[in-house]
């Protein structure tokens, strides 16, 4: 890196030209400035990594945690409440031994076997949502009619929340995450109502356990590992925060990528056995992943031959890493049959996405059901007019108008 580029400080997040295209700077950064200095919305400084190997190295390093509620860590925004990354409550689950213990417990509900057993239910939910879309007739907004409800219904089922309560869960989740559309008062009320609902729900499961994850965690009393009431609450909240919006956004982006060049959709219609690899390639090709993952460098280290001193806040751009030409052949092309596809959309190492088998199954089922039920599906807007979701941390598309 020349001293010239090292002195240059970019404002982060970088702007992309449209909802589906990457920011112009990525190529230049990967080639000439893999350890770039950036300024966050708070005004604090951080370092941005854009190459595959560097991003993977830092994300897999168990010493570095995403918890930015530490002395010296950069703040992302100046909001009073801070972002999800700065929440000290979540710190106990963010790293080290307590994280590992928690993860092993929760993982029981997320093994491939367990998720495969859920698949028929997910398919039924997806079919139900398509029934409703067909009843109303085209055009439809694939986000509000399908991508938004499906993952939250799945999480409701996972947590043993009744079908009659799942739309309440969807409302709370929406209010807690997409703050811009709601007043602060509505957000606070949603948080409180959700916490109260969860407390009641956990008590009900304690009295009368079912087949769900919470019941399983509650009744695991024969083991030493028992989660406290607080940990149970945080687990349920954490799963909703980590698993709803991410998956909803990804469904919207995947469908937009596949329909924006309709030959991709047609190829899947002809050959549905490509669904699995097409989902992986959509995860890799997603240029609109939002902020990236922050890590607090708690001990001196080195990346791309450059020293990263203790106290640095690093932003790992998985979307840029996923388009690194030195790792992926033809990285700027979407190849529906790419194998193997070691994208890092779900992170890497001890903290990599716990729900990835579930997310994959939801995305695969979405394609299966939509290809079968709505083969004539097409975008009802130009790809460059897809409205981006405005928000700092998550990327996504606000509305995906389709017809069939």
């Amino acid at each position: 890196m020349s001293s010239e580029s090292s002195d240059q400080v970019l404002d982060y997040p970088l702007r992309a030209p449209t909802a589906l295209e990457p920011p112009a700077e990525w190529d230049r950064l990967r080639q000439g400035c893999p350890v770039a200095h950036v300024r966050l919305p708070s005004g604090d400084k951080a370092v941005l990594l854009t190459r595959y190997n560097d991003v993977r190295q830092v994300l897999s390093d168990p010493r570095f945690s995403r918890n930015l509620a530490q002395d010296g860590a950069a703040r992302i925004t100046t909001n009073e409440g801070g972002s999800v990354f700065e929440n000290p409550e979540a710190a106990s689950l963010a790293g080290g031994e307590s994280h590992q213990r928690w993860r092993r417990l929760i993982n029981r509900a997320f093994t491939v076997k367990r998720i495969q057993a859920l698949q028929t239910k997910i398919e039924a939910m997806a079919n139900h949502l398509v029934d409703e879309m067909v009843k109303k007739g085209p055009p439809a907004d694939l986000v509000s009619d399908f991508a938004f409800p499906l993952p939250v219904w799945v999480i409701a089922d996972l947590l043993g929340i009744a079908v009659t309560d799942r739309d309440k869960l969807a409302y709370w989740s929406n209010a807690m995450l997409t703050m811009t559309q709601f007043t602060q008062e509505e957000v606070n009320r949603a948080q409180m109502e959700f916490a109260q609902f969860l407390m009641g729900h956990i008590a009900a499961k304690r009295a009368n356990p079912g087949e769900d994850l919470l019941s399983e965690l509650i009744t695991a009393t024969d083991k030493e590992d028992v989660l406290t009431e607080r940990e149970l609450m945080m687990t349920a909240q954490g799963i909703l925060v980590a698993g709803h919006e991410t998956t909803s956004n990804m469904i919207g982006k995947m469908m937009s990528m596949l329909l924006s060049d309709r030959s991709r959709w047609e190829r899947l219609l002809e050959n549905p056995s490509l669904i699995r690899t097409a989902v992986e390639e959509s995860l890799r090709f997603d240029a609109n992943m939002g902020f990236g993952l922050p890590r607090f460098i708690s001990e001196d280290t080195e990346v791309a031959g450059q020293p990263l001193p203790r106290g640095t806040t690093v932003i790992c751009s998985m979307s840029s890493a996923n388009r690194d030409e030195s790792f992926f052949e033809g990285a700027s092309e979407m190849k529906l049959d790419r194998t193997p596809n070691a994208h890092i959309t779900f992170g890497a190492g001890a903290h990599s996405c716990l729900g990835q088998a579930l997310a994959r199954t939801e995305l695969q089922t979405t394609l299966q059901v939509l290809l079968k039920r709505l083969p004539t599906l097409d975008l009802a807007v130009k790809p460059e007019e897809l409205p981006r979701r405005e928000g700092l941390l998550v990327g996504g598309i606000e509305k995906v108008l389709v017809r069939w």
């Binding site: 897999s60 993860r103 092993r104 417990l105 993982n107 029981r108 997320f110 093994t111 491939v112 076997k113 998720i115 194998t339 193997p340 596809n341 070691a342 890092i344 779900f346 992170g347 890497a348 190492g349 001890a350 903290h351 990599s352 996405c353 716990l354 990835q356 088998a357 994959r360």
Partner: protein, 67 residues
């Protein structure tokens, strides 16, 4: 010449990618940690195992040639 699969269990984060890609060779315990079903898989499994090694998010899997 065959292939032998090596697992570093302490690196496994239990996300089950290997089970999705090569279910004849890998399984998971209840808590998600990988179980090696076949340490020296037959040649028709090499491609799937190779893919699992590449995509494992924990970099917990390796392949080596066995005599």
């Amino acid at each position: 010449m065959g292939m032998r699969v090596l697992v570093e269990y302490e690196k496994c984060c239990g996300a089950g990618q290997c089970v999705m890609v090569a279910p004849k060779v890998f399984d998971q315990r209840d808590d998600g940690i990988v179980v090696l079903l076949d340490e020296t898989p037959p040649p028709d499994q090499y491609k799937a195992v190779q893919e699992a090694v590449t995509v494992c998010p924990g970099a917990a899997l390796r392949l080596e040639e066995s005599a």
